[in-house]
Symmetry: C2
Subunit: 226 residues, 2 copies
């Protein structure tokens, strides 16, 4: 009985996510679903990215938080083309159904890249699609080497893992190589980039990845709709 309800919810979400995806595809718009633990640095990453790519890639952000609009205010100040806050009021993730009504309220034609910043949570967000092209996991070196094994779905669903706060490595008992190994054990094909969104180290690699993905999606154009 309970399982049936959950399955129905997941099926319904997949249908709605597919509809969102068709809207994104019509715009040739690259959409990323950015996930992490609380405090891994999603908002700081986006602030820096928006500033550094200003005039080159126009970025819109949909912010998911249980409460507050702190993040969308930060994103707006950083110069995003738009920042739209969703408050989930207790829900531990963003799903397709929460994104769908927002798509009428923002100007998708004005951006090259849409980032959905999910609720800070290594569990629930990985279970739901919003209509994204790719899921990304941002992982802070302060979280320790065992997390990919303990939260495998998050790392299996993500095409890219950004390993953040590498400027703190000299002060931690953590090996970067062990984090990479753990992630590759649960997802051998995952792309890994080491960064510090605080100091900027490694960010150019991420920007190149973004440029390439935005370009590929534009080139596919409305054909991606099929």
């Amino acid at each position: 009985m309970k399982v049936t309800v959950v399955k129905d919810i997941l099926d319904a979400n997949r249908r709605i996510a597919l509809q969102n995806r068709q809207v994104f595809d019509r715009h040739g718009l690259m959409v990323l679903n950015l996930m992490s633990s609380p405090g891994a640095g999603k908002t700081t990453l986006l602030e820096r990215t928006i500033r550094d790519l200003a005039g080159e890639i126009s970025i819109g952000v949909i912010e998911g938080d249980i409460q507050t609009s702190l993040d969308s205010e930060r994103i707006e100040r950083a110069g995003a083309t738009f920042a739209h806050q969703i408050n989930t009021f207790g829900a531990c993730h963003i799903d397709g159904n929460m994104i769908s009504p927002v798509l009428d309220q923002v100007d998708l034609a004005s951006i090259d890249l849409l980032v959905v910043e999910n609720v800070g949570n290594l569990v629930c967000p990985a279970e739901f699609e919003v209509g994204e092209d790719h899921k990304l996991v941002l992982f802070s070196v302060t979280e320790g080497e065992d997390k990919p094994h303990k939260y495998p779905l998050m790392f299996r669903e993500s095409v890219l893992m950004l390993v953040n706060k590498i400027d703190l490595l000299p002060h931690l008992n953590v090996e970067l190589e062990s984090i990479h190994d753990a992630a590759r054990q649960v997802h051998p094909e995952i792309t890994i980039l080491d960064i510090s969104s605080q100091t900027g180290e490694g960010m150019n690699g991420f920007y190149d990845w973004l440029r390439e993905e935005v370009k590929k999606k534009k080139e596919r154009g409305p054909a991606g709709e099929s």
Copy 2:
């Protein structure tokens, strides 16, 4: 319809948690529900506590993880009276129903303190009781000052907030006072202790808190059952 299902689940959980609580009370056993983000340092905190209080307070741990038994292995090596691993296989929290069958498999009479180490998640665990006396939130300074506002239920439900990894403060753009203020704004009565379970700084304050709570529960004895 969906809301009804959720309410039923929460009601059923509350009933089971109450039954667990009655078992704990019969033993005069202090039970703590330890919650945090992934990687805030719950297991390291428990390892150090178990080692430092060896011969004084006998500690059993029930470990909640989506997958792996890495944590219960670490807890066993630290010298816990027992360490029992629960794998939730996708569930984002530990609830009363998961704890209940474990209580027949461990020797509650052999311990003074039971700690339930919840799944690393700042959202879902706060919504469920397991039959604990107190909820505790462990918060890492690396997570940033805004989290109590963004995840208020976690901080409202907790009687004690341990602010961990204070040894990293010199390397972060974070003010300890701002973290305290944010937590007190969502929960004015919360007790706050600053610690580093890596260096041991501030841990004596936590041990004093534990001693006092274990003693109070023992003194209440089976009367607490009512």
